[in-house]
Amino acid sequence: MKLGVIVNPVAGMGGAVGLKGTDGAQVLAEARRRGAIPRSPERAVRALRKLRPLRENLDVFTCPGTMGETELRECGFVPKVLDCGASGDSESSFSREHTLRGVRLMKEFGVDLLLFAGGDGTARDICEVAGESLLVLGIPAGVKIHSPVYATSPESAGELALSYLSGSRIPEKIAEVRDIDEEAFRLGRVQARLYGYLRIPFERRRVQGLKSGSPASDWVAQQAIAAAVAEEMEPGVCYVLGPGTTTREVADALGVPKTLLGVDVVRDGNLLGKDLGAEELEDLVKENPVRVVVTPIGGQGYILGRGNQQIGPNILRRCGRKGLLVLCAPEKLRALEGEPLRVDTGDPDLDREFEGYVRVRTGYSQESMYPLRGW
């Protein structure tokens, strides 16, 4: 079997520093200036480790440096490195042209499965070349994961690839590639666009569902939830409001502005800071007790670690399970079709602390007891 591996080495860098994405050289430079460190190579390694049992039997094709070669070698593979134009130092010189050329070459070599690590931008690039001609699976590593072409975690991606490459019969599915306009995203508007389709191996529990927006009928529920949360806020406590339209209603109920896709902090009804990166956030709340208010990503159920990476492990440890307020309109919860809510804090031990059942606020005096799992 032939396996192709492409890592977008800069995917996800914008997330932890509050940039909502890393598309384009300018934003990447800003992310670096803010001290972002690459996270996709590490996530690719977590997936590739699962494939070790097939080390001897696989023909592996990849791109130079951290676009795949480095990660594969770390896991003990000896890949065939394709000349996609990237240098050994692929991270600092990364360009989407390298991805496009890499996919083109893999198509020529006829890989049976292309594993890629990145976000929605990466999926778009792959889709542009591969379309439905290649079987593809995403390792979630970007800031924006709106397309349901990703496994639910790096490990799930590895496991699913392992069973496919070992000859198990895995159903295939055509999945949408969606992305949002990052410019509009930074201005507080979600504008998802459909860019095409990829063919993916599909196992219900291992591949992420399509993100769904909030239907209009949920708006009333969101207001009811927000009114209750605002009423129950305790004095002197810092409330970290994660991204989303539901959390924005909380800010509205308090009469303060909210960055739709950023992380803001309120205390005693006042806005303390808006659109904060991880370090600013930690600094701002260090003097007070802290609660974290989040809402799941539509259709996926992630409440931590997707689109709100600014809320880092330190804050989450301080707020703990009891200080985590999960808000979700009933229809959005139903759209999970019984799948659990999920956390992916980047720290598996911390994820385990949040696992179990969580009270989800679904209305003014309504809650649901809902399962919560780590990746």
């Binding site: 229809e331 809650e367 007891m369």
Partner: protein, 526 residues
């Protein structure tokens, strides 16, 4: 020509009358009955009677009722009835969760008997002994069926009963000094939504449990939800998807362990009547729907009967009056002496004609008959279950390989994926074959849902007719989906404009609201 007995498909067409609203038919001065002028003495007494009503409550202008002759009124309502598919007209098993069984017509005759219909609720008890005996004996039968110690027959429907039950729980919490410590009520997402709605009106917070992978209430979620703040568990079993929860006693035990009480929503009694009881499952309260399980008609939204049963510990909170029997004087009487009662929940004794129909039904079947009714309901349901699963595109999520109780929640998810035709389109096409089914199972946790509940009343021939219609529609979904998207073609109307349903500003539940919203007839008060 008769229906095709081979295909079992009817060539049906519903009546279509562009019938106006009755208010629009009104002709000023037109009357149904012209009454002779009142005699002087009668007129005088009438006027005196009016004087007793405070002036601020007296009308200065007559009510704006429609003015019509008798014959026009009769035609108006007959035309409307032709535009309906009632339980006495169609194979009404598609209205799952509603237990649309046969309402014996002889019971209508009994309820219309002047011995009952001419009674006045304010008559002296001594002249109502027969009525009170009937109420007392109905309660006795319900106690046997549930194992509960006392019943109130007052509430007029299921949600009304749940609200009364939650009121009792509130009264119990307050009377036992737990007002500050018990403020949470747990229910499940597949229980009737009134279980989640009514506690909020009584100041409780509601925690909903989602089903586990098998579709049953998630016991682990209950464990996570139960705490010292838990006042009560309100739960249905089997839930609306038709799967029985055999661990129900563990649920009630767990809630009791933190001092909470348990209420059994027995709207789905029909498959377990005479087989399991609320008492043995550990419940403190329960209710039955007389208009579902006990054969009284649904009455198009009322009046029905939601009878509430409680253990002796909670009997003191029941609505007043209770019907008692004094064995020394051999007389029945009304007991208002319940100082901790939640009060009245309906005027007088409840919907007496409905209670009478249920009583007659219980007596006609007896203990064995009730159990047999439940068994046949389950048999009919599992016959439908096996046959619907053979229809391509239909599925029944959860508990694969198990039997179901009295109903099943199915899904057209696969059909939708294959043809683009979902449950809404199937529903609209059902009308063209003279039957109806409904899809109001929000939230759609089961995707593209429909629920079939055949009850014990239907013959195999009718069940097969319903199956044939569904098979035909699935065939059409593959061959001509476009035609289905425009269905119904042979019904009273062809298209419902959902814009009106989605926007509360456009709703008009009464003629007055309609005039206000659409014609500006009533000016808003400044």
């Amino acid at each position: 020509m008769g229906m095709n007995m081979q295909t079992k498909l009817r060539d049906f067409h519903q009546a279509r009358w562009d019938e106006p609203i009755i208010f629009e038919l009104s002709a000023p001065g037109e009357r149904g009955i012209l009454l002779p002028p009142a005699e002087e003495e009668v007129a005088r007494q009438g006027a005196e009677g009016l004087e007793k009503i405070p002036s601020y409550m007296r009308r200065t202008a007559p009510p704006a009722l429609p003015e019509m002759g008798q014959m026009r009124v009769l035609k108006h309502y007959l035309r409307l009835s032709q535009e309906n598919l009632g339980a006495d007209l169609n194979v009404d098993i598609g209205q799952g969760t509603c237990t649309m069984k046969y309402s014996p017509k002889i019971n209508e005759v009994l309820a219309a008997n002047p011995a009952l219909s001419e009674l006045h609720p304010k008559q002296d008890e001594s002249t109502l002994q027969g009525l009170l005996e009937m109420l007392y004996k109905t309660e006795h039968a319900l106690k046997e069926i549930s194992g509960m110690d006392r019943f109130s027959l007052q509430a007029g429907g299921g949600s009304h009963a749940i609200y009364a039950i939650v009121s009792i729980i509130r009264a119990w919490v307050d009377a036992t000094g737990q007002s500050d410590t018990k403020d949470e009520i747990i229910t499940t997402i597949f229980s009737h939504p009134s279980n989640a709605a009514t506690p909020i009106l009584k100041g409780f917070k509601v925690i909903n449990l989602y089903p586990d992978a098998e579709g049953r209430p998630d016991f682990e979620a209950l464990k996570a939800a139960v705490n010292e703040r838990t006042a009560a568990l309100l739960i249905t079993n089997p839930e609306d998807i038709g799967i029985y929860n055999p661990r129900i006693k563990e649920f009630t035990d767990l809630v009791h362990s933190v001092g909470g009480v348990c209420s059994y929503d027995q709207a789905n009694l029909n498959g377990i009547m005479g087989i399991t009881r609320a008492k043995e499952a550990g419940f403190d309260l329960c209710f039955f729907n007389l208009h579902k399980t006990f054969s009284a008609p649904h009455g198009c939204g009322g009046p029905g009967g939601g009878v509430i049963g409680v253990t002796s510990e909670l009997a003191k909170f029941l609505p007043v009056p209770l019907v008692e029997f004094d064995s020394s004087e051999e007389r029945y009487y009304l007991n208002y002496d319940l100082p901790q009662s939640i009060g009245k929940v309906k005027d007088f004794y409840g919907s007496v004609p409905v209670i009478l129909k249920a009583y007659a039904w219980i007596l006609s079947l007896g203990q064995e008959g009730l159990t047999e009714a439940a068994r046949v309901a389950v048999l009919n349901n599992n016959y439908m279950f096996r046959n619907i699963l053979k229809i391509p595109g239909a599925s029944a999520p959860y508990a694969e390989g198990e039997h179901r109780v009295e109903q099943v929640r199915y899904s057209w998810k696969k059909l939708k994926e294959e043809t683009g035709i979902g449950t809404a389109e199937v529903q609209n096409r059902m009308f063209d074959y003279g039957v109806h089914y409904w899809t109001s199972h929000e939230p759609w946790i089961v995707p593209e849902p429909f629920t079939v509940e055949p009850t014990e009343s239907y013959s195999k021939e009718e069940l097969d007719e319903f199956l044939a219609i569904m098979k035909q529609i699935v065939k059409e979904a593959h061959e001509d989906p476009e035609m289905l998207r425009h269905a119904p073609h042979k019904s009273t109307i062809h298209h419902v404009d959902h814009d009106y349903l989605d926007d509360p500003a456009k709703w008009a539940m009464t003629w007055r609201a309609y005039k206000k919203k659409y014609t500006g007839y009533f000016e808003p008060k400044s």
